[in-house]
């Protein structure tokens, strides 16, 4: 029995990214119908194949039902009450960063993502997405020298239509699920990455998603293609202002790894989570999936999920190529009335494929944190192996943690291993640390980072430090 008031104080979370940028935006009217989709497509000057893709997805979406199987409870979303396109007004064509509205640059500066030439991060190329559009992408020329394409998906549609047409929707088809169908119909922007054959991307690539307006949804779409023997590490960060309404975020991320290619995709998600009474916050419904198409290809997801009122997210791997590898490392922290239903799917199709799942859920306050994962061994997946480890940590006595592992094996010559544990920060552990002079808050934060160590070790270095700080911040408060 840990002193409850202390724990409550400790897990109080100050949200430092809750400001709104006052900028003139171009918004279309609320609601969703064929005309709206045509309007979005027209604004983005898209080729016909893409408009068709959108309209087909919309037709499918209309026939689908919003899923209710997740361990989540929320007020029904009114899809006609959302603005599907919102963009800061700026000059038609921007040739350099100097022409970007300084307010936007300032916003990203404030978020710790400086974009200007003088200040930009030295080892990471950044694509900054503000509401529905990409504002800027740094280091493009340097990357181009290596043949790496890193740009917004809207630009890719214009300049690399062949790649988009070939790969878009091949990993997450429009009909995959309700939110993927919605995204396919209305997606506005996102990032595109292409790593050519034999190239190890010379720097980390990063997208930073910022939701600014309160009544628009964000529907970004990311597509990463790693050709034979290439490799890339991609980072994704997200924040949003504090509004007392809920904002819908329904993204789709598709990764494709060919023979001997490897993609590492890391996320630190810190969307606004709503206040202590559960008012406001982002509804985060995301479909992320990678296809290990080639032999010995590898896709590794690592995520630190700390924000959003609701998180519904299952970054998955389709292991087609023989000896391909899928990994999922996750930390999900929920507090107050946050709800998270997250996990992964590892679908073993090719022979001798391997997957590893390490999930760490931390629930504090009155929050609800569920791991939901599927490991499937197909008929041809001989000699394949999976190892899963799902640990939950409870802080206080009002939070809940669930684990829903689904295992399906059609291949007797394969191995599936699952370990699960639930722990509570015990009074004895806290007393031990305190009796060594360590303050209560720091003791909790030390134990939480200790609990997450296995996952943090998988994150790129700068990100690991950020994640550690973020968790500490979430657990920071005035000890009474």
């Amino acid at each position: 029995m840990v002193n409850e008031n202390l724990v409550k104080d400790v897990v109080k979370e100050p949200y430092k990214y809750g400001f709104v940028t006052d900028i003139e935006t171009e918004k279309i009217e609320k609601g969703l119908n064929e005309d709206i989709i045509k309007l979005i497509s027209q604004k983005k000057e898209e080729p016909k194949f893409l408009l068709d893709f959108r309209l087909k997805a919309f037709k499918k979406w209309q026939k689908m039902k919003e899923p209710d199987w997740a361990a989540l409870g929320y007020k029904k979303i009114d899809y006609q009450d959302i603005i599907y396109y919102s963009a800061p007004k700026q000059k038609e064509k921007i040739s350099s960063l100097d022409e970007v509205d300084p307010k936007l640059l300032e916003t990203f500066d404030k978020l710790g993502i400086p974009l200007t030439e003088q200040k930009k991060l030295t080892n990471v190329a950044v694509d900054a997405v503000f509401d529905s559009v990409s504002i800027a992408t740094t280091f493009r020329e340097e990357l181009a020298e290596h043949g790496v394409i890193f740009c917004s998906i809207s630009e890719a549609v214009k300049n690399h239509a062949d790649l988009i047409e070939k790969y878009l929707g091949t990993v997450v088809p429009a009909s995959d699920n309700y939110f993927a169908a919605l995204n396919s119909a209305v997606f506005s922007d996102g990032s595109f990455v292409y790593i050519p054959k034999g190239v190890a991307c010379p720097m980390d690539l990063s997208s930073y998603f910022r939701i600014n307006s309160g009544d628009s949804g964000q529907f970004e779409r990311t597509l990463i293609i790693a050709e034979e023997k290439s490799s890339v590490s991609y980072l994704e960060g997200c924040t949003a202002p504090m509004f007392d309404t809920n904002t819908l975020h329904a993204a789709v991320v598709e990764l494709i790894a060919l023979d001997d290619a490897s993609i590492k995709y890391s996320t630190v998600q810190n969307w606004y989570a709503g206040d202590e009474e559960g008012i406001g916050g982002i509804f985060n419904f995301v479909t992320k999936r990678g296809k290990c198409l080639g032999k010995r290809s590898k896709i590794s997801w690592s995520q630190v999920e700390t924000g959003s009122a609701i998180t519904w997210k299952y970054p998955s791997c389709l292991l087609l190529g023989e000896e391909s590898i899928g990994e999922f490392y996750s930390v999900a922290l929920t507090n107050n009335l946050q709800q998270a239903d997250t996990g992964t799917k590892m679908i073993h199709i090719g022979p001798r494929t391997k997957s590893t799942i390490v999930s760490k859920g931390i629930s504090a306050g009155n929050s609800k944190n569920s791991y939901r994962g599927l490991v499937k061994m197909g008929t041809k997946a001989t000699g394949s192996r999976n190892y899963s480890q799902c640990d939950s940590m409870l802080i206080g006595d009002q939070a809940s943690a669930n684990t829903f592992p689904y295992i399906k094996s059609q291949q007797p010559n394969s191995e599936i291993e699952h370990e699960a544990s639930t722990c509570r920060i015990s009074e004895d552990q806290l007393f031990y640390l305190q009796s060594r002079g360590i303050e209560f808050e720091e003791a909790v934060s030390m134990m939480v980072s200790g609990f997450c160590r296995d996952v943090f070790n998988q994150l790129p270095m700068e990100f690991a430090a950020e994640a550690d700080k973020l968790l500490a911040l979430k657990l920071e408060g005035s000890v009474g």
Binding site: F431, R436, G437, M446, M447, G450
Partner: protein, 257 residues
Amino acid sequence: MKEPDPILEVENLSASTDNLPILKGVSLTVYPGEIHAIMGRNGCGKSTLSKIIAGHPSYNITNGDIKFLGENINSLEPEERSQSGIFLGFQYPIEIPGVSNLEFLRVSTNARRKFLNKEELDTFDFEELVKEKLEIVKMDQAFLSRSVNQGFSGGEKKRNEILQMALLEPKIAILDETDSGLDIDALRIVSSGIKKISNAQTGIILITHYQRLLDEIKPNYVHVMSDGQIIKTGESDLALELEEKGYEWTDNFIKEI
């Protein structure tokens, strides 16, 4: 010559947990340079006394005072007590998965150093210091990179406690059954470590069942506890007598009270 001020004064202390009285009026004063031993049957309140002095939140002080260097510390948080120089060596050191022993020791040491207005140590300087202290308990550096107490043997855990004591340089150390679960070699290492760390300015309270620790570290006073009270206090030969006659012998003292 003026007598030095006491380090620790426990005055008529009564305490309970879940409304169950555990301590029933304990008084104990420790002066600099003194070693006190507390003996008694399991459940007599020895460990509780040590936890209450360290500030464990599960116990309520219902009467009496604990004074450290003349100040009443009844309401201080455990971390404040540690920072100001009270050390509790745990009977069962707690495992903290995922937290590196080195980092734990460093944060802990710096908390004490900060209190003493000493410069806090960065990882490199701290490693130098800790290497020096490892010698005292004959521990291998490999212990530093492991999680706090996780997977340590009983003896390793106890040595890790003494390592912490060496780093924190407390004014008073209360060592709760530090000798239990140690083989003879480990007992020698631990007791010689305790002797090296303590000096004429520090006080030590040894909670133990066995004479063998007291053979290594000779106490100035031996207290026998029973049912939440100190029923007899004597010099070091009391422990020998107790070993010879057993606790049944002390039952007579209770009747006298």
